[in-house]
Symmetry: C2
Subunit: 228 residues, 2 copies
């Protein structure tokens, strides 16, 4: 469902070039449940932004459902990002003077098939699912770190996308809450969604079906998790 072909990404800072991705070839198949691991700075978020159509590679191709996204119009790309892919950012990217409910409603604002009433209802359910049913009208800065992280997760799920890309979704969550979130991802995967998460915690990675390890901008390992 997502194919990355020889992806190279270099950030040019004038006197210094950062080769964040140095030739990544990966296929994410429909129904996959992947954990991406690797050292800080190894290129994981850069890769996620590229396959999530939020950034473009310096060279190489990205295919979504076998279509080269380089050929897509801006509108088509925006539709993919909004409807097909749910993205949880490493730094959440919530709107600050906005309530938890309004933040989660955001992706649905662009969906003409959803009325205002349905939008509020779907958003409320998404927040209840991540345990924030009693935080709907808190502003972003009135939430704890882990609550903000969960609002970002709820927002990524509310449009019921086919692919979920979550960059460190449990980084600020205690063990029990992390397991609840992974439980949600497992349910969605069993319902047929494709899930790719970046994590640095091996316990979390073991709950997925496949693990990919990045190092210095390249994939060095790609294996299926042995289930005991």
């Amino acid at each position: 469902v997502i194919r990355a072909s020889n992806i190279i990404k270099t950030f040019d800072l004038g006197e210094v070039k950062v080769r964040a991705l140095r030739g990544v070839d990966l296929e994410i198949n429909e129904g996959d449940f992947v954990a991406i691991l690797g050292h800080s700075g190894s290129g994981k978020s850069t890769f996620m932004n590229i396959i999530g159509c939020l950034d473009v590679p310096s060279s190489g191709e990205v295919y979504i459902d076998d279509n080269n996204v380089a050929n897509y119009s801006r509108d088509k790309l925006a539709t993919i990002r909004n409807k097909k892919i749910g993205f949880v950012f490493q730094s959440y990217n919530l709107l600050s003077r906005t309530t938890a409910l309004e933040n989660v409603e955001l992706p649905l604002l662009y969906n003409p098939e959803v009325s205002a009433v349905e939008r509020a209802d779907l958003s409320k359910k998404a927040l209840e699912r991540v345990g924030l049913g009693d935080r709907l009208s808190h502003l972003t800065n009135q939430l704890s770190g882990g609550q903000q992280q969960r609002v970002a997760i709820a927002r990524a799920l509310v449009n019921e996308p086919l692919v979920i890309l979550a960059d460190e979704p449990t980084g600020n969550l205690d063990t029990r809450t992390s397991y609840e979130i992974m439980g949600i991802f497992q349910e969605l995967n069993e319902a047929g969604k494709t899930i790719v998460i970046v994590t640095h915690e091996t316990d979390i990675a073991k709950m997925c079906k496949r693990n990919i390890v990045f190092k210095d901008g390249k994939v060095i390992k790609d294996f299926m998790v042995d289930k005991p």
Copy 2:
């Protein structure tokens, strides 16, 4: 060195009152190395902000070196925050269009005893210590999540404070980098610094000397870690 006496903190949101801290009594002794754990929303960051003099309790007292901070002038409080306490925020609070080096220099700008040359030198060393010697002139948004987290850590250390309060300092770091950061904290503790970290990872908590567990705004456990 820090004493919290019957700390109560309630956030009043009009129709809803959130009782974030419901009576916390804690003593942090000089040279302690404490990990604070607890569920998302249990009050950990709220507590850290209060003992770090960044917020005031609704009732109860905070004593720094046996002095009630409620009696301190604003200037005195600012000096404590700047020189005595180094704070690593859960969401880093870095300045965005600012380089890693400039972000780390910030606490030293208010220190008249440090020249501009010394300031740049101390900041460079702090960044090298957290493995970012090659990222000095990257802007905040040109750094990975874990790199931003390490800039926040370097900034908290640069003034050589006696007390370090770090809210989830390894939340976005891979295992090896987390252990390097804990190694730095252990060195500082062996040199006499007092360290309090919030973490949700039990492996990290076991590297500290004392663990405190929060639940629903109260301390439910407080024990010394058994060293094997």
